[in-house]
């Protein structure tokens, strides 16, 4: 065991820090640190800056255009990016369809799509959930009917994050209705500009609209857009969800919330003193700080297991649950730090470029919206109830 960063790792950290400091556009950083809704352009711009440095796909092996970093290096990279206020690298291309194509795609599919993911020439979204298929994903009903060299896809997807910007959607569809539901699902790629695709934004509690419904009405896609074998989509779906779970340990968001909380608690006052000196409030901050510390070390242990090639099991579910709980607790306390100023809320102030007025500044304006929005993290990516079922099953072996 070596529980400290090696000199090489420390050097690596410095290199990342300097690059991000020098290259992250200030306007993007300010919006990120104010928890605003970023524009498509902001995401793409930062992604291309990273791609220009060869860091566009930190998790990818060198043969596919990644930097070939170790798991520890990747976590250092994420850490530095988050600290500096960089936008998150969207997972849909890099952590979802990318790894899927590497494992299940044909050589043609890999050559066609992977390089465009690194520069974000294609924006990807995820077509999994449906109105009737949430936790019970295998109940999905969107149908793909074979017609010569094409599939004709009809149905509806929902909770499709950032689909309003997407060029492509990877999508689970039903290609066979007989037999077990899991055995009739295929994994296909849909061009979002194809006739019959319609995107409807869903307004969420923070009054943003980053999730959508996607309606598919006789959308024709070439058979070449099938990934893996026909009816073999469930295996791919599960592989991908495994990837999503480590992503949503949410460590970066936890750290960002924690940093904001400290800053607000220093700036806000109670009985004429900084809020952070209020023992009642400070105790709750410390409890969360300790929670976060243990979460970080759990993640590091898991990363080192992964790096050593050991199988990762239910620990990913545990990380997902703890990460979501800590984010939500931090969001709650952040809101409380605002006192009565949690009440006024100008929704437009969450948009990039907003120049209007708020009651008490941009930061306090958004705390309640952030608190509301963070309720989603215990719902998406497999609800916490589903994660607990997975853990209990593994512990009990029943």
């Amino acid at each position: 065991m070596n529980l400290t960063e090696t000199p090489a790792e420390a050097l690596f950290r410095t290199e990342i820090r300097h690059f991000v400091e020098a290259n992250l556009p200030r306007t993007i950083r300010d919006d990120v640190l104010a928890f605003k809704h970023l524009t498509k352009d902001q995401y793409v711009r930062w992604q291309r800056i990273l791609a220009g440095q060869g860091w566009g796909a930190p998790g990818w092996p060198a043969e596919y255009g990644g930097p070939g970093w170790s798991a520890v290096q990747r976590s250092i990279f994420d850490d530095e990016c988050y600290k500096a206020g960089a936008p998150r690298q969207l997972p849909f291309g890099l952590s979802m369809i990318g790894p899927v194509l590497m494992k299940f795609g044909t050589a043609e599919q890999q050559a066609r799509y992977l390089p465009r993911i690194i520069r974000m020439d294609d924006w990807w979204c995820q077509g999994y959930s449906e109105p009737g298929a949430g936790s019970d994903l295998a109940a999905l009903k969107t149908v793909a009917r074979r017609d010569g060299g094409e599939y004709v896809v009809s149905g509806q997807k929902t909770w499709t994050t950032l689909a309003q910007y997407a060029d492509w959607m990877f999508c689970l569809v039903r290609t066979r209705s007989e037999g077990k539901p899991q055995e009739g699902i295929s994994f296909v790629l849909i061009d979002m500009r194809a006739p019959g695709v319609r995107v409807r934004p869903i307004r969420t509690l923070d009054l943003g609209a980053d999730v959508n419904e996607v309606f598919l009405d006789d959308v024709r896609i070439p058979v070449a857009n099938l990934v893996g074998p026909e009816h073999g989509g469930w295996t791919i779906a599960k592989y991908l969800l495994g990837h999503e779970r480590t992503n949503i340990a949410g460590i970066g968001m936890c750290r960002r919330l924690s940093a904001s909380l400290k800053e607000y608690a220093k700036r806000q006052t109670k009985h004429g003193r900084p809020l952070i000196e209020d023992v009642r409030f400070r105790d709750r901050m410390v409890k969360l700080e300790i929670d976060l510390l243990s979460h970080e070390w759990s993640l590091m242990r898991l990363i080192s297991l992964e790096q050593a090639g050991r199988p990762v099991g239910v620990e990913a579910s545990m990380l997902k649950i703890r990460g979501s709980e800590i984010q939500q607790d931090l969001g709650e306390l952040l809101m409380e730090s605002a006192g009565p100023y949690a009440l006024p809320f100008v929704a437009e102030a969450l948009d990039s470029g907003f120049e209007g007025e708020t009651a008490a500044g941009i930061g306090l304006n958004s705390v309640a919206a952030l608190y509301f929005d963070l309720r989603k993290v215990s719902i998406y990516g497999g609800t916490n109830e589903v994660q607990k079922n997975i853990i209990a099953k593994s512990v009990l072996g029943l």
Binding site: L343, P344, A359
Partner: protein
Amino acid sequence: MDFEINDEQRLLADSVGRWLDADYRFEDFRRFAADASVARQNWACLAELGLLGVNIPEKDGGLGGGAIETLLIMQQFGRALVVDPYVSNAVIAVALVAAEPAGERRSRLLEQIGAGSCRVSIAALEPDGRFDLSLVRTVAKAEGGAFSLSGRKAVVIHGDTADQLIVSARTAGGAGETHGISLFLVDAHSPGIEIRGFPTIDGQRAAEVHFKEVRVDQGALLGGLHGGAEPLEWAVDRGIAALCAEACGAMEKLLELTAEHLRTRKQFGQPIGKFQALQHRVADMAIAVEQTRSMAVLAAAKIDVADRAERRRAISAAKAMAGRCGRLVAQQAVQLHGGMGMTDEIQVGYYFKRLTAIDVTWGNVEHHVELYGDLL
């Protein structure tokens, strides 16, 4: 002890419920919040039904009701997500005005508030004071027979649609002291008042109010000079009791909505309410609603006791409980609705937001735990 309400009270609750069912529908919520003319109509209805005068004595033209009537009305309001400034007017302002000595001003004000022709907002909090009613830096300087008000008031609920403001200002002492706070009734359109209104998380409004040497005469004083802290605390306590009842109504509704969802939403071939993990959540929600209901009744029972400490403990306990339970019920309701609970398209989120807003109105859980602790 008798927890049964009488026939008259039941009639009141039923008639409020019927009006809300018919004319205050969720489908219209966004209009209520956004359209000032609709809000005025609703306000006129509240006046017509006599609800604005529920706490006004009969001899002054009101219904002559009290804590129980307010509780019943607020529970219905909580269920229907009423967004009008009812508590500020019909509870807090009426309490302060009704406590004034009999006279032309008192009669006129009560009549106007009851008729809905004068809307009052309570400008008591300040930008750096959190929920502390005695952290008053706004000053009222005596100038001859008049006063000059200068300072800033924070998060004044519906302050940008008010005709009159009840303002706490310092006539003696320093920030944090209770002695030396005086209350003034100020025309919201007086020269020197700058009001910046903002939407709130729950579809209402709140304003930042800046007083720049606003001149008011001696007659603007509500209550005695330097002695405003105690009546303000007492009147706000009445508002808090009302909010606890409202929270109870909102939580009841959330429990019903969630139960309905669990009965009808199917996953894995069965209603999700069949899963024990979710059943226990619903049980926790039901317990929380029940506790809040009890505390809302306690608050109503103690609001008129003479002993300040006894009243204050009950009110802070009730508000802390309503805040804690409201958070639990709302969070569980969202979680159990899954992704739909995160949208602006169904009712659940609106109740979640209202309960969150109630928690940060006149003191959140932490504030009331602290106040209770001071009285142990």
